[in-house]
Amino acid sequence: MSQNVDAIVVGGGIHGCSTTLHLCLAGLKPVLIEKDYAGRHASGVNAGGVRQLARHIPEIPLSIRSMGIWEKINDLLDDDCSFESYGQVLVAENEEELAVCRARVAELNALGFTHEELIDAAELRRLVPAVAETCPGGVVSRRDGAANPAQTTTAFRRKAQQLGATVREGVAATNIRYSGGLWHVDVGSESFAAPVLVNAAGAWAGKIASDLGEPVPVETVAPMLMITSRVPHFIDPVVILRGRKLSFKQFKNGTVLIGGGHLATPYQDRNETVLDWKSLATSAQTVFELFPVMRSATIVRAWAGIEAKMKDDIPVFGPSSRHKGLYHQFGFSLHGFQLGPGAGAVMAELIVNGGTQTRVSDLGIDRFHPSTL
């Protein structure tokens, strides 16, 4: 016997949790199904960057929408998520890179986006005093920042539950089917039915889409991160490089997170990743060169989170092109964390109102499958 709910959300990452919460805020009774626990994979173990900077143009409107929510995250969740906003800085290591930055900012300005700002060497030095002397400038997005990803994802799940969402953790959603005008999903010995199904299953979402006749070019990846012991405070903003794979963030407690997208080998079926230390060594070398202050810091832990990466690096977001009541929200391609709060709000609007003021039309699955609805 199926339990009838208003919506079934598959996947307890930040996206599934955020959509569940926003559905509750809209007065619906959703169920959230997570095979492990909320934030177990990429959403809980990513770098925590809250970044509008250097995004693909099609997702900038969603990112800006999300930023507004981040800035009031405590009002929404009763949890500050350790969000802090000291900006994010993209560093150009030479004049060629700076020229690319200049062109990018001009392009954004022409489109009416003003969050990215070109900076010269002096401003770069003011924002990031520890950076190597040779860097000629870069780009800053001043409202950007960082949050604690596990804390944030957990807070979304907790708030959704407080507002009436049913949460099932530790059991996978199986036997997803559409019959009698409803989506049916089995969860262990239970079964749920709803007119709406949201596929927010991260690295496992591509399979769900494909099983429902909407295959997309997606792969499973596991970007690596490492964290250092505490070092004296020396940097506020998050730093990313224009030319090399590196992101860099010092937390309040002094520890420094080093990322940048080098990949581990994912073993998705076992929830496991095997780290590639030779690639991490490349990140270490980059930090060594740019931030001499970090040379004697120790690396205390490294890890990788399993997530979905689209071939075009742009998420799949919006209604299915084949099935009524099915919505996709996956494939955030290593940059989905900041989008989570906004994407949940917009998804709830799409579900409840049938439309949204936020421009997301370039993110639809119809870029792979022309709509048959």
Binding site: Y37, G39, R40, G44, N148, A150, Q151, T153, T154, R157, R158, E169, T228, S229, G243, R244, K245, H262, R270, E272, V274, L275, D276, W277, K278, S279, L280, A281, T282, A284, Q285, V287, F288, M294, R295, S296, A297, T298, I299, V300, R301, A302, W303
Partner: protein
């Protein structure tokens, strides 16, 4: 002098040069397999035979005959062709049997066809009020100083806890002229009855006579208070006193040094970080790897010998080391296995070495109040998280040790849970009415011991990454 591994690939890499590792490496090398033994200490021996080649304690009676058994193991290893590197800290091992090791500040990568983990044991956390005060240390740390440097306490010293090692340490301190003011024995009275059914095996084991005479030797010189049910260290920034309850009576004694010990547990960090399956052992109250009869783990090619496989003591460790090495030889050079002791003989040696274990495990099973703290007692030293903090997090939704990280950062400091992991698991299990097995443990990740950024930056990079950098 820094010695890097001579090759990039070995048949067998043994990690840890305690009893199990020494025996495993010697066996494997004698059978003709290319064998590398990596060990963190400055010389062979592990903890039980620490400084066996260098100790300044030359009177054999002071450290006891069991200690000097280690010298034979070292001799057998030296007579073999095994390549041995000390001060070598293995900081990563994965299911592809890729090993990263730091030697003298430089890291190297080696690959093995078989890995034998012999990473031994750690002292169980003893989270009582005040256990983080300067002046409170583990008995194991005191024993390290004693064996390596012949240093013994001379201030007002209290030893508290239970277990065979506690009595051994007390005897060693006294023989070397050290001072012990009082021993507070926390063995639960009920344990004596629980252990009784297993006493026969113990009486016929080698532990019995030695254990008994050691306790007699110590009790002749030191006041021993048994049946201690509560224990706390106090002092303002430095240990000043130890208070305890025994037989319903509270007493406080001034102390400069408190040595705590309530047994040892497998050192699982490297094994867990390699993805090896572990289970909660409800008798030994710790995580033990799931192993087959040849010490093979759930990850193909990795075996675990010694106390890292479940606490069994030095004699069992030696035999397990030989079993694991023999299994490697059978797999890689079957013809050479004929030269080694047959597996059946080794397994019966193991059964003999493990006799009496059940009795010891039952008798010295630590009491709940010394494993599961409450209130303001620190659980996680790295992040200064108290028992109350953990319980508060459980109340608002933390379901296990990994979820707890999102609330309290427990286990995320440099010790990677070595000092808090068991406490957190048991505390959360109790609070949530679950078994430790259901609650689980931290997911552990490399580096299992910290390495400097400079050291990591200096390792050779993969070709693909060099290209990626050039391409930008």
């Amino acid at each position: 002098m820094t010695v890097a591994p001579k090759r990039e690939d070995y048949d067998v890499v043994v990690i840890g040069a305690g009893p199990a590792g020494l025996a495993a490496a010697a066996t494997s090398a004698e059978a003709g397999l290319s064998t590398l033994l990596l060990d963190e200490n400055i010389g062979p021996g592990g903890q039980v035979f620490r400084a066996i080649s260098s100790t300044p304690v030359t009177d054999r009676n002071q450290l006891g005959a069991d200690y000097w058994v280690g010298a034979d193991l070292v001799q057998a290893l030296r007579a073999s062709n095994a390549e041995v590197i000390h001060r070598a800290t293995v900081w990563s091992l994965d299911r592809n049997l890729d090993i990263a090791v730091s030697i003298g500040g430089a890291s190297a990568f080696v690959k093995a066809k078989r890995v034998i983990l012999a990473t031994g044991a750690l002292e169980r956390p003893f989270p009582i009020p005040g256990w983080t005060l300067p002046g409170v240390m583990t008995a194991g740390a005191a024993q390290t100083m004693l064996k390596s440097s012949a240093l013994v306490p001379d201030g007002r010293t209290v030893i508290a806890g239970q277990g065979p090692l506690l009595w051994l340490l007390a005897a060693q301190i006294l023989r070397l002229g050290g001072r012990i003011d009082r021993i507070l024995d926390t063995t639960e009275r009920g344990n004596y009855f629980a252990a009784l059914p297993h006493a026969f095996a113990f009486l016929t084991s080698p532990y019995f006579a030695k254990g008994l005479s050691m306790m007699r030797e110590v009790k002749a010189k030191v006041q021993v208070v048994s049946g201690v049910t509560e224990l706390a260290a106090s002092g303002d920034g430095q240990l000043a006193g130890v208070s305890y309850v025994a037989g319903g009576k509270r007493d406080t004694i001034p102390a400069d040094l408190l040595l705590l010990h309530q047994g040892v547990v497998p050192n699982v960090n490297l094994a867990m970080s390699a993805g090896i399956e572990h289970r909660w052992d409800d008798l030994q109250l710790c995580w033990s790897p799931v192993l087959d009869a040849s010490c093979g783990s759930s990850v193909a090619g990795i075996a675990i010998a010694g106390d890292g496989a479940g606490i069994g003591g030095a004699n069992a460790a030696v035999v397990r080391g030989r079993i694991a090495a023999r299994a490697a030889v059978e797999a890689l050079a079957p013809a050479a296995a004929a030269k080694l002791a047959p597996m059946a003989t080794l397994r019966s040696d193991l059964a003999k070495a493990e006799r009496g274990r059940l009795f010891l495990d039952t008798l010295f099973r630590p009491a709940p109040q010394f494993r599961i703290p409450s209130g303001d007692t620190i659980v996680c030293r790295c992040e200064e998280v108290t028992a109350k903090d953990v319980l508060d997090s459980v109340a608002i939704g933390a379901t296990g040790p990994n979820q707890l990280k999102a609330y309290r950062r427990t286990g995320m400091g440099p010790c990677q849970g070595r000092l808090c992991g068991l406490t957190v698991t048991e505390l959360m299990a109790q609070a949530r009415g679950k078994t430790p097995q259901e609650i689980g443990y931290y997911r552990l990740r490399a580096p299992v011991k910290p390495i400097t950024l400079a050291e990591l930056a200096a390792v050779p990079k993969s070709e693909a990454d060099v290209k990626a950098v050039v391409r930008g």
